[in-house]
Each structure stands twice: as structure tokens, then as C-alpha cells.
């Protein structure tokens, strides 16, 4: 049993190191789709994507399609899902205890960017 412990623990740390190294050394194979397209979406467009399977959010003037990321989000779903289809900058900047998300999360968020939010005119 001791041998099993040593073997599995070693393999685990090898995989963790591999995930870390890959994120550092290899460029992402998929570029953010929207940088090339640079589409502009209205708040009405945004509001049409307000379900867990089809969830867009506007944060700091950019629009993100976070549908595929939602299952990975660490906090409880009822905290995140209400922000689908909405301007969510305040929620993004004031997560638990009012703290903003970390810079690494900003990097991750950028990979889901699909365009800009149109500035509403009266």
C-alpha cells in the first residue's frame, strides 16, 4: 500500500507540473475569436444570451461568451447565473468580500471575449 501511495502521489505532482508548464510555455492553440471579428453588441443582443447554456456577460466594455466556462467556475451557480445577459462589471469587481478578481482571471476572461458592448445613446 505504501508503494501505491508513493506511485500515485508522484504521478499526481507530475501532472500538476505538466499543466503548469503547458500554460506557461505553450501559446494557446485557440486565439480569442473576437479579437479578429471585433463585433459590437447592444444590450439587447446581450440580453438574448441569459441562460446557463448560452451565457454572455459584459465586463468593462467588452462582451464575453462564458457558456463553456460556467461549469468550471468555482463559486456556487446561483451567484454567477443571474449575471448572464447583463452588464456584470460590478459583480466581477466585487466578488467574495468585495474583492476584484485576480489578474490571472483577467487573462483567462480575455480568452472568452467575443466583442465590444455598444455604448447606449439616448
Amino acid at each position: 500500500m505504501r508503494r501505491l501511495y508513493l506511485f500515485t502521489t508522484g504521478i499526481f505532482w507530475l501532472f500538476v507540473a505538466a499543466f503548469w508548464a503547458a500554460s506557461l510555455w505553450l501559446p494557446p492553440t485557440v486565439q480569442p475569436q473576437a479579437i479578429a471579428a471585433e463585433k459590437v453588441y447592444s444590450t439587447a443582443d446581450l440580453a438574448r444570451h441569459a441562460t446557463p447554456d448560452n451565457c454572455w456577460m459584459a465586463i468593462r466594455g467588452n462582451v464575453y461568451d462564458v457558456s463553456t466556462y460556467l461549469p468550471d467556475h468555482p463559486s456556487r451557480p446561483e451567484l454567477v447565473l443571474p449575471w448572464c445577459g447583463r452588464e456584470a462589471t460590478e459583480a466581477y469587481d466585487t466578488k467574495s468580500k468585495g474583492r476584484p478578481h485576480k489578474a490571472t482571471t483577467d487573462d483567462l476572461l480575455a480568452t472568452f471575449r467575443i466583442g465590444r458592448l455598444a455604448v447606449d445613446t439616448p
Partner: protein, 417 residues
């Protein structure tokens, strides 16, 4: 062992594993992510079951086939849970691989995360450290025991991880059960609430580094039968300071007035100290546990004892003559270590069905095959083995080699680590 009792622990583990998986079975997610979630819940269920299997309760132990069997499964369930829980974050991260490598790393990276992820990491690291300690047998038993119990913190931290992720419906129940099992173990078993007060009436040296202690109950007597063991903690008394921790000792005699005798060999710091114990020392006794020598068949029997392993057989012989033809092979290093030998010779002389074969092995490993070759009618006998783990393992192999089926070989190791 009855079939239901044999299946009790495997069925318990199966239910503890499949129950949470059934509740949390994901739909519409990728294979890697689904597998990550399923293995996480399976590990959680196995950890909870392993906590139940560390409780030292006589009725529970009887229902599950004995304390030694519970401990063996406790070890396997804990180890299996550890392997599954190691795979859990890796499979969740693999969901983003290879297209989204940054996402894959961020899924498991503790950097820039909150308590929902940190508590998961804390649980894994505590499990890792706790198991590393568990496999380190050079640590003194007292320190080892408390460090091993620290694995309970890993379980609680893992459950906190689930609560912080917002999964509180079944988790609060599991968290409650885990806290209950841990509290039960600490208060009733480690602090001795389940044990009964006894007092040392006499202590007699019976061999080199071995003493036999007569314990008298100060309240209700325990229900003990020959072949069972009890957990005893010795406290302070005239000229003696006990270590106050519970150790397993096989009963060497069950007296009519409820008193019991236990044989204690100096195997560690605490048992070495016990060699100088005297009358008047307070003790707490928990048990009795084990079913070694219980339900013996009406067939000729071979008993093999090594050193201190003579005590369960002695308790049986002191209770009365044997009912079947019985050969007792008693292995010891030298005469000075041959505890109770003269008493055994007297018992054998007065019991026509009992044959005693004392064997002084010296400091070398005895040739077990040669010893068994001299046993007449071995193929028909039920075999009962008690002694050091190495001797028991060697004897089991030698008996198997001679065609004795497993169900006719009975043994208990009494090793709690």
C-alpha cells in the same frame, strides 16, 4: 464467518460510493469533467465509510466481522479514496486540454483562487501528509496516533470545499456524519468514555520482558470470552506513572468474579514502562473484541503460538479442558522467554485430548515446513495461529502449500497501525 457478515463491509463501501455518485451524476458535460466529478464524489463517500470503520465499538465490530477486519478495510478504503481524490482535480483540468491550456491550469491552480478551491487543495495536501505519516512506522505510537487522527481534518476540509462551491444539500448531511464519527472516536475511544474502570490487583513477571496483570472491575464486568482482546489504558498508581493510552492486549484468563488477566510484552515505550506496574494502579478497559477461537468446529485442531501469542490459547485452556483432539505448537526463542510453559505442561498432562509441543527456535527463523511435517493428520485439522505477523504469514503460506484451505486457517494480527 456468516455470509452477511462477510459481505457487510464491501456492501457498506459500495453504498457509500454509489450513493453520492447517483445523486451527483452529471448530465451533458464532457467525459473528462463528468469522470472528475464522479471520482470526487466516490472518494468523498469512501472517506466517510473509512471514518465509520475506525470506530471501536463492540456491537459494531461484531456486526462487521471484527475490529481487525474493520481496520484492514479502513486502510484500503482510505487509500482508494486518496487515489480517486487525486484524479478528481486532474480530470477537471484535463477538460480544457489541449485547446485551452490556460483554463486547464487555472482550474487546478491555487493561485488567484478563493476558499472554494483553497479548501480543496488543503484537503488534498493534508491527506498527502497524513498518509505519509501513516506509513512511517518509526514514529512513536502516541505521536503517530494523533498525527493519523489529523487525517480527519483533511476530510472536514474536503467537505468544506464542497459547501463553499455551493453544493450544500447532501454535503451538510455527510459533513454532520463525518463530524459525528470523528467526535465519537475521539471522545468514546481515545478519551476512554466507552471504557470501564478497573484496578490492577497483581502483576507477575512470567518471562523476560513480559508481565501478566490481574485486573479487577470497579463497576460492571466486561463480557469476555477466551481468545478475545481488550483495549487497556493504565494510569497512575503507587510508584507508577502510566502512559494513559489504549493498547490492545489479549486476555490470558477470564475469572468467575469478572476479573481478567492480560499478558503484556515490552514491545514499545509504553509497554516497557508497564513491566514495572504494581497493585493499585488505575486502568480503563474497553472491549472485548475479536472472535479468534470462537465457533471452533468439532474437528481435530492445530494451535500454533509464537511468543506472546500464547495468551489466547492459555485463556482457552484455563477455562477448561479442550473438547477435540488438539495439538499446541508453542514457539519461543529460549526458555527465558517461554512464558507460562510449566503451567501449559501441567494443563497438557491433565488433559488427554491436549498435546503440547514446545519448540525453542533460538534467534533464527524456524523451519515451519519441518515443524508441520511432524503434525499427524494435518489435512483434516482446523488451524489457529497467533504470534508475530511474520510468523503468521509464513505459517499461512506453509499451510496453503500443504493443501489446507483458507477457511480452515484462523488468525488475528492485533496490529492497529
Amino acid at each position: 464467518m456468516p455470509l452477511l457478515r462477510t459481505l457487510s463491509i464491501p456492501l457498506l463501501l459500495l453504498a457509500a460510493t454509489l450513493g453520492p455518485i447517483y445523486w451527483a451524476l452529471p448530465e451533458g458535460l464532457s467525459l473528462s469533467r463528468s469522470l472528475g466529478i464522479v471520482l470526487g464524489w466516490a472518494g468523498c463517500g469512501l472517506l466517510l465509510a473509512s471514518l465509520l470503520l475506525m470506530l471501536r465499538e463492540t456491537r459494531l465490530a461484531r456486526a462487521l466481522g471484527g475490529l481487525e477486519r474493520m481496520y484492514r478495510w479502513h486502510h484500503w478504503a482510505g487509500m482508494a479514496a486518496y487515489v480517486l481524490l487525486l484524479a478528481h482535480p486532474l480530470l477537471l483540468a484535463a477538460d480544457g486540454w489541449p485547446d485551452q491550456r490556460l483554463l486547464a491550469w487555472q482550474t487546478i491552480s491555487p493561485v488567484g483562487q478563493g476558499w472554494p478551491v483553497w479548501s480543496g487543495w488543503l484537503s488534498l495536501v493534508l491527506l498527502m501528509l497524513g498518509l505519509a505519516v501513516t506509513f512511517e512506522h518509526r514514529i512513536p505510537y502516541r505521536t503517530w496516533r494523533w498525527l493519523h487522527l489529523g487525517l480527519g481534518l483533511a476530510v472536514l476540509s474536503g467537505l468544506l470545499h464542497l459547501v463553499l462551491l455551493g453544493i450544500d444539500e447532501p454535503v451538510l448531511l455527510i459533513l454532520g456524519l463525518a463530524a459525528f464519527f470523528l467526535g465519537w472516536r475521539i471522545v468514546r475511544d481515545d478519551f476512554g468514555l466507552a471504557a470501564r474502570p478497573f484496578i490492577v490487583q497483581a502483576a507477575t513477571p512470567v518471562a523476560d520482558a513480559m508481565v501478566e496483570i490481574l485486573l479487577k472491575p470497579l463497576s460492571n464486568a466486561l463480557a469476555v470470552t477466551p481468545g478475545q482482546f481488550v483495549l487497556v489504558a493504565f494510569f497512575d498508581g503507587p510508584g507508577f506513572r502510566g502512559c494513559g493510552e489504549f493498547h490492545p492486549f489479549t486476555v490470558s484468563a477470564v475469572c468467575a468474579d469478572g476479573s481478567i488477566r492480560v499478558g503484556v510484552k515490552a514491545l514499545g515505550d509504553c509497554t516497557r514502562k508497564i513491566q514495572s506496574i504494581g497493585p493499585g494502579v488505575m486502568a480503563r478497559v474497553h472491549g472485548a473484541f475479536g472472535s479468534f477461537l470462537a465457533d471452533r468446529p468439532a474437528a481435530p485442531q492445530l494451535w500454533v503460538a509464537g511468543g506472546i501469542g500464547i495468551t489466547p490459547f492459555l485463556a482457552q485452556l484455563r477455562a477448561g479442558p479442550v473438547k477435540q483432539l488438539t495439538l499446541l505448537l508453542y514457539l519461543y526463542r529460549n526458555k527465558a522467554e517461554a512464558a507460562f510453559l510449566s503451567e501449559l505442561e501441567t494443563l497438557a498432562a491433565n488433559d488427554p485430548d491436549l498435546s503440547l509441543k514446545p519448540v525453542a527456535t533460538g534467534n533464527t527463523v524456524p523451519d515451519l515446513n519441518a515443524l508441520l511435517a511432524d503434525v499427524p493428520g494435518l489435512a483434516q485439522e482446523a488451524c489457529y495461529l497467533c504470534g508475530p505477523p511474520g510468523m503468521v504469514a509464513g505459517l499461512r503460506k506453509a499451510l496453503h502449500d500443504r493443501g489446507i484451505p483458507s477457511h480452515r486457517i484462523h488468525f488475528e494480527n492485533f496490529d492497529f497501525r
